[in-house]
């Protein structure tokens, strides 16, 4: 397929993504994880129909780098926030712990499997297992929002799950930074892995601080877009040149900007609506890059990774029931409700595929895609069931929601969840 046609297709997807954010007519349409776009990319890509070949995909690598970087930047700016409210510290720590536990378990299982069943060299094995672990760490916040939005969920359990999902991105993103630093660029001097990790994080901090300085005290929209785009592209270009993790640097940049700039609310308001238009084409590209015929042992690796993730999430769910009395009514399915994966997992997979073309990147991306698809099958249904059991879902939308495109202020003590559609950028 001609590169221009692929570009037009990606722009069309981006357009659809923008409608999903801004349109009320198709509120709740599509799958929560965006897995259908991964599947579409896989079907159209070189592994199946071959409508676009690998050479065409290669020409789109810069677009993929930029899309992933931008996504992570937006996630960074909104990290630890639910709507306009900060996630409570205990839940932030809880989210970090949940992702650390899930990621570590998936990493350990994948590493053990690769140790005995694959011909990969030790460093490659570590990279592949680490990447799979990072991809398996998250619970996608989109799924939680989607369930909440579609089933009008509101209450302490919805709140808890949402806050965990909003704060579990840090660990996998930092893990990716560390893993990329294991294979530094060929430079004249030697620097320890932690040094390269420091450069990745430091670059994000520096550019985020510079962006905050440039935005200054008065928020001017045109200047803001120039600064944000410029800093993001510069961060992507610099980290990719050094062979470091651009998604990690951009995430740190977003967190730093959000922390330092007095315009954090305005930034979230203008950046959130860009998430979907960038994410859908990125998911399609990730699907197109995915190759399940990479290795004979891949299906077993996928099974091991998914098994470890399911088991860990189940245990985590039981743990939550133990420590949060309010969640007990949700029952043991709550853990399975955390299985949804999506944008972050696929972004990590695609980032690995671009940085380590060959078995390492291919394995991570294939596992990320499988984790996303499995999560889609199990996660939202289990979460809906758990929330329903906790008595937090409603069959009919509350009258205010039906009447207005904007999520109304609520009188309950819990925070209304940001909905999937038009409210993210406008009002929460």
């Amino acid at each position: 397929m001609n590169a221009i046609w692929l570009l037009m297709g990606l722009l069309l997807l981006s357009y659809i993504g923008s409608l999903l954010v801004g349109g009320r007519a198709i509120r709740g349409m599509g799958l929560p994880s965006g897995a259908e776009y991964v599947v579409l990319g896989f079907i159209l890509g070189p592994s199946l129909l071959g409508l676009f070949d690998r050479a065409t995909l290669t020409t789109f690598e810069p677009f993929a780098h930029v899309a992933l970087g931008w996504l992570m930047f937006v996630i960074g700016v909104t990290f630890g926030m639910t709507g306009d409210r900060r996630v409570r510290t205990t839940r932030l720590v809880g989210g970090l712990f949940v992702s650390l536990l899930s990621g570590a378990a998936v990493f350990a299982a994948a590493w053990l499997f690769l140790r005995f069943r694959s011909p990969l060299a030790p460093t490659d094995r570590l990279l592949a297992a680490g990447g799979i672990g990072a991809a398996g760490a998250e619970t996608t916040r989109y799924a939680v929002r989607w369930v909440a939005s579609r089933h009008h969920a509101e209450g302490p359990v919805s709140d808890l799950v949402n806050e965990i999902a909003e704060s579990d991105d840090l660990i996998p993103i930092l893990a990716v930074a560390l893993l990329f630093a294991l294979q530094p660029p060929a430079v004249a001097f030697h620097l320890h892995t932690l040094g390269w990790l420091g450069i990745t994080v430091g670059l994000g901090l520096l550019l985020g601080a510079m962006a905050a300085l440039l935005l200054g005290k008065t928020f001017r929209l045109a200047e803001t877009w120039g600064v944000l785009l410029g800093m993001s592209l510069l961060a992507v270009g610099t980290t990719e040149r050094l062979g470091l993790s651009s998604i990690s640097a951009l995430f740190v940049m977003g967190v730093t900007l959000s922390a330092l700039s007095p315009h954090r609310r305005e930034l979230r308001r203008i950046l959130s609506p860009t998430e979907h238009p960038v994410m859908l084409p990125a998911l399609l590209l990730a699907g197109a890059f995915t190759d399940f015929s990479l290795a004979k042992y891949l299906p077993y690796l996928v099974a091991v990774a998914i098994g470890a993730r399911t088991l860990t999430k189940g245990v985590i769910g039981l743990g939550i029931l133990g420590v949060a009395p309010a969640a007990r009514r949700a029952g043991p399915r709550l853990g399975l409700g955390l299985l949804s994966a999506g944008a972050l997992a696929m972004s990590i997979g695609l980032a690995f595929a671009l940085r380590f073309p060959g078995p390492v990147g291919g394995l991570v991306l294939a596992c990320a895609a499988a984790i996303t698809l499995f999560g889609e099958l199990v996660g939202p249904a289990a979460l809906r069931s758990a929330l329903s059991r906790a008595g937090e879902t409603r069959d009919d939308p509350p009258p205010e929601v039906a009447a207005s495109p904007i999520v109304p202020a609520t009188t309950s003590t819990s925070t209304p969840l940001p909905t999937v559609s038009d409210d993210e950028g406008a009002v929460t």
């Binding site: 660029p185 430079v187 120039g226 410029g230 800093m231 592209l233 270009g237 990719e240 207005s404 904007i406």
Partner: protein
């Protein structure tokens, strides 16, 4: 463009901008020296971001001494480019030129949308005189100057007299080209309104069409003069007719479709422009239509045959504020500084004589058209800049005449470099002196929101129930 006339910024803000500019140069300098491998996509991505940031910052800093923002963009590109600090190499710069298709589409649509039938009617007499005289006299005089400079131009040494006339003719037409992008760039920055601003824009946009036609004619006439074995052929005119008519027809259709889209949907114009800038530009190249003309007609149709002109221009302006910075900074990075060093004496003579002729004809045309005094004094100032079209024509000549074409192109690049640097400064000076530059500060979000609150309050007083459409809009799109 970034910024525009905004509220004066404090010294501390300028200091921060200067420091960040230095830090950015330092950062990319370190990265390029650490990993010198530049022919990668990462280099291109980083270069776009770098040029966007440094171009914007440099434009803010040159604004202190009254220079146009465009000069800042160009300077940032020149300093970062392959001839000064070498923060990006030729490969990266050539990759960056892919943004040109998008930038030119925006420039042409904006230019077309700025042409209003009422304005054209009012300034018809002035436009007609200027077009007639500039199209007749500039090529003739510049052909003579070019031939007179023969001893200083190495690639003309072996040519016969008739061939010299042929090459001179091509140069004469090239000297007629103006720069819509530079004109729009300065107008976007200054937000100038008045006779100088409007007549310059009208002339520059229409002169592009004249140049395209005259260039085809010049090629047709000069070919038998340069290559005695070839014969006079009208085939070029046939091709030209196809190109012009096809472009106008497609542009009209596109304009109507765009107007309908804006009216019925009105969302995500940025994505639509991206599709046009990359996708449709590619298709136009395949069809051998003129992209500039097509997009210009589209913009003209949206503005004059629908009520969507203001929204259309606003959307282009928002996107252009980012795209133009990269476009001009890339042009700066692409500037062949060593070539300019080698050819500067002849380039200076050619540029100087072009400027003098343009000035003289401008005054004459204004007198004949009975323009107001401000036009007689400053009407010529926006016609000095040259950019993309001149380079495009030089590339056509280089391909058509391989014997002297590369030398011709090199000289064209050198003169365009001079005009590209001097022209915008002159035009901005003229707009400032003629009092057409807007001094109202650009609205910031805080002022927009304050205005919005006032409107909301007034609206609430008038209508107790909220207006659903207004509420659904993001803040920046709300009426103020």
């Amino acid at each position: 463009m970034s910024g525009g006339p905004s509220a004066p910024k404090a010294a501390s803000t300028r200091l921060v901008q200067a420091l960040v500019l230095l830090a950015l140069f330092g950062l990319l300098f370190a990265a390029t020296r650490l990993v010198p491998e530049l022919e990668s996509q990462a280099g291109t991505i980083g270069a776009v971001g770098f040029l966007l940031l440094t171009g914007t910052l440099a434009s803010e800093l040159v604004d202190i001494i009254g220079l146009p923002h465009l000069t800042g963009y160009l300077l940032a590109g020149i300093v970062a480019g392959p001839y000064v600090l070498r923060l990006m190499n030729h490969h990266t710069v050539s990759q960056l030129t892919t943004v040109n298709g998008l930038a030119l589409a925006l420039i042409a649509m904006e230019g077309g949308a700025e042409l209003k039938i009422d304005g054209l009617r009012k300034s018809f007499r002035s436009l007609a005189w200027a077009t007639l005289l500039q199209s007749l006299i500039v090529p003739v005089v510049m052909t003579g100057v070019f031939i007179a400079c023969k001893p200083m131009i190495p690639f003309l040494g072996a040519l016969s007299t008739s061939a010299m006339i042929g090459v001179g003719l091509l140069w004469g037409v090239l000297a007629m080209t103006r720069s819509p992008s530079a004109t729009l760039g300065i107008l976007a920055q200054t937000r100038a309104t008045g006779p100088v601003a409007s007549s310059t824009l009208t002339f520059v946009m229409t002169s592009d069409l004249v140049v395209v036609v005259l260039m085809a004619a010049a090629l047709m006439i000069s070919r038998p003069l340069i290559e005695p074995s070839s014969t006079f052929s009208l085939r070029d005119l046939e091709t030209l007719g196809h190109e012009v008519l096809g472009s106008v027809a497609l542009g009209t259709t596109l304009g109507l479709v765009l107007a309908a889209y804006i009216r019925l949907v009105g969302k995500q114009l940025i994505l639509v422009f991206l599709a046009l800038g990359f996708g449709l530009s590619e298709m136009l190249g395949y069809l051998r239509f003129d992209a500039l003309l097509t997009f210009m007609v589209a913009g003209f149709v949206v503005q004059n045959l629908s009520k969507q002109g203001p929204r259309f221009l606003k959307a282009i302006g928002e996107m252009g504020s980012v795209v133009y910075v990269v476009f001009f900074a890339t042009a700066g990075a692409d500037l062949d500084v060593p070539l300019l060093q080698a050819l500067w004496p002849v380039a200076l003579i050619l540029c100087g004589s072009r400027a003098v002729v343009t000035w003289g004809i401008g005054r004459l045309a204004s007198r004949l058209a009975d323009d107001p005094p401000v036009m007689r004094r400053w009407g010529w100032s926006g016609l000095i800049s040259q950019a993309g079209l001149a380079l495009g024509i030089s590339s056509v000549v280089a391909r058509a005449f391989p014997s002297f074409g590369p030398g011709f192109r090199a000289l064209a690049i050198a003169t365009v470099a001079v005009n590209e640097m001097v022209g915008p400064v002159l035009f901005k000076l003229a707009l400032d002196r003629s009092g057409e530059t807007s001094h109202a500060p650009r609205p910031s979000i805080s002022t927009l929101e304050a205005a919005h609150e006032m409107v909301e309050a007034a609206h609430a007083r008038a209508h107790p129930h909220p207006h659903p459409h207004t509420e659904a809009l993001p803040a920046e799109e709300k009426p103020t």
